[in-house]
Amino acid sequence: MAASCRAQVLRLYRALLRESQRFTAYGYRTYAIRRIRDAFRENKQVKDAGEIQTLVNKARTNLEIIHRQVVRLMLFIERRLNL
């Protein structure tokens, strides 16, 4: 149980980072990567199975959001400003 849980969390962590790398907007990309790293580090010590499940569910929801927003940003390319 513990081993499979650990593998599941790591898989999720990698998937989140991989998806965030695809953000075309600089601010969003750097924020997402930083926030994901900090959140996983912050919750590293969590032992309670129920709490882990809540966090895993939250991460899954966020992964879906990141995925949709990455696609959205690719559809609408930002216009470069003329300086």
């Binding site: 600089y26 601010g27 966020n62 959001i65 959205r72 690719m74 390319i77 470069r80």
Partner: protein, 450 residues
């Protein structure tokens, strides 16, 4: 106007050298750019880039989580939240009520005390004109401060024309009001005190808790414009004894065109609505509630509540980095506003002997402002800086740096680097700076007019 913009664009473009690529700006371009976007002409190999964004007091970018929650209501669920006869209406209504709950939860209020508006400007107008007019038969006096946002000051001017008396409290040199002065200003027929929580130009935090306490003992309603504070610092309407509070969507990574006002129910605050119509929002704000925008505001509040501590820590760190680097590298830089009672994400610096506008022009690859966006078109020095007693020349040389959720270390470092470089360059050209270096006191000079 369009012509002017085009011409300005052309002039600016001409001024940019080929070596204008800069480290963080290059980071911006590092993202994949598959081709020109919709509605955009392909410009071919164009090396021009967007400037870095350091003006989060003017507005913030939409958080991806916020847009994600809004999109379904812009695509599928388009029902009118006030339609009671079909499912389209019900689903929109339940989304609006969920958002009301999210906003209320962020400020410790009851959802029934939240009224959705078009933004903090409307909320401020509604609070000031609404309360003053409702109680006008018995109370004809309103108190505010000199450093409030334009929409508060202008609403008060309007009330003056209607026969109300307004006290514009001065602020101390640090930007904070004197509680004793406020206490003395309260009269038997004072209906409302309006003091903003965090100032949009200099970032000072007023002693809201003390003001709330004072107003509640003196039985005067207390309104605070918390557009720059909500979601960034903890705000609890009951702990702070706030009766009315203005909230803005686009200052907290939410959409533009939506805001909210908190109106206390117990003891009840009554106000005269500004708009007549269908009686939505308990009759206080008629007009169909814009479901997608309100859903966005709700998510922005929820995200802000979750991320407040994390954001605050990070923004403080970045702000400290910016201020320390600039202050150690260049002399004669003044930080406007109290350094203690201060929101770290809003830094207002005056670079003595440098004209603020020329520095802004030189820093054209960083989006900055010398003050509020509303007055950024005028070259007049900011009235907020004048109110805190800043000298005319220092008020002309101020720049506001805004740090937000999406600001990076690289962006701060680049801004600092460019800022130092240009301040030094502009000072080297300045005869005033030369005179100061020669030990001449500029104040002693009698400038003659020819």
């Amino acid at each position: 106007m369009l012509l002017l913009l085009l011409r300005r664009g052309a002039a600016l473009r001409g001024g940019r050298g080929p070596g204008g690529l800069s480290p963080p700006a290059r980071l911006l371009s590092a993202a994949q750019r598959p081709g020109p976007g919709p509605g955009e002409k392909g410009t071919g190999e164009d090396s021009t880039l967007r400037p870095l964004y350091m003006d989060v007091q003017a507005t913030t970018s939409l958080d991806p989580r916020v847009l994600d929650s809004m999109l379904p209501y812009l695509i599928h669920y388009y029902g009118n939240p006030h339609s009671r006869t079909h499912a389209y209406g019900w689903e929109s209504e339940s989304a609006v009520e969920r958002a009301r709950q999210q906003v209320a939860s962020l400020i410790g209020a009851d959802p029934r005390e939240i009224i959705f508006t078009s933004g903090a400007t409307e909320s401020n107008n509604l609070a000031i004109k609404g309360v003053a007019r409702f109680y006008k038969s018995r109370k004809k006096h309103v108190i505010t401060t000199q450093t409030e946002h334009k929409c508060v000051l202008d609403s008060c001017r309007y009330l003056e024309a209607e026969g109300f008396r307004i006290t514009y409290l001065p602020v101390k040199r640090n930007g904070l009001i004197d509680l004793k002065e406020l206490e003395d200003a309260i009269q038997p027929d004072t209906s409302l005190v309006s003091v903003m929580t965090v100032n949009n130009e200099i970032g000072v935090k007023q002693p809201i808790s003390d003001i709330g306490q004072l107003c509640s003992t003196r039985k005067v309603f207390f309104h605070t414009d918390a557009a720059q504070a909500v979601g960034k610092i903890p705000m609890d309407v009951n702990a702070l004894k706030i009766d009315l509070m203005s909230i803005s969507g686009h200052k907290i990574y939410g959409p533009k065109g939506v805001g909210a006002i908190y109106v206390r129910r117990r003891p009840r605050v009554r106000l005269e609505p500004l708009q007549s119509g269908g009686g939505q929002e308990r009759g206080m704000r008629s007009g169909t509630v814009p479901t997608p925008l309100v859903v966005g505001l709700g998510t922005a509040c929820e995200v802000a509540q979750q991320e407040m501590e994390y954001d605050y820590k990070r923004i403080s760190l970045l702000a400290d980095r910016l201020v320390t680097k600039i202050m150690t590298e260049i002399p004669d830089v003044v930080m406007n506003g109290d350094p203690e009672h201060h929101y770290p994400g809003c830094i207002n610096l005056s670079f003595a002997y440098v004209e603020g506008e020329s520095l802004l022009m030189a820093l054209k690859d960083v989006a900055l402002s010398s003050g509020s966006a509303c007055t950024s078109a005028s070259l007049e020095p900011s009235y907020v800086l004048r109110a805190i007693g800043t000298d005319e020349d220092l008020a002309h040389s101020s720049i506001r740096f805004g740090i937000g959720r999406f600001t990076t270390e690289e962006e701060v470092d680049y801004t600092v680097h460019k800022c130092i470089q240009h301040v030094k360059r502009l000072r080297a050209m300045s005869p005033l700076w030369e005179m100061v270096q020669d030990g001449i006191d500029l104040k002693s000079i009698k400038w003659t007019q020819h």
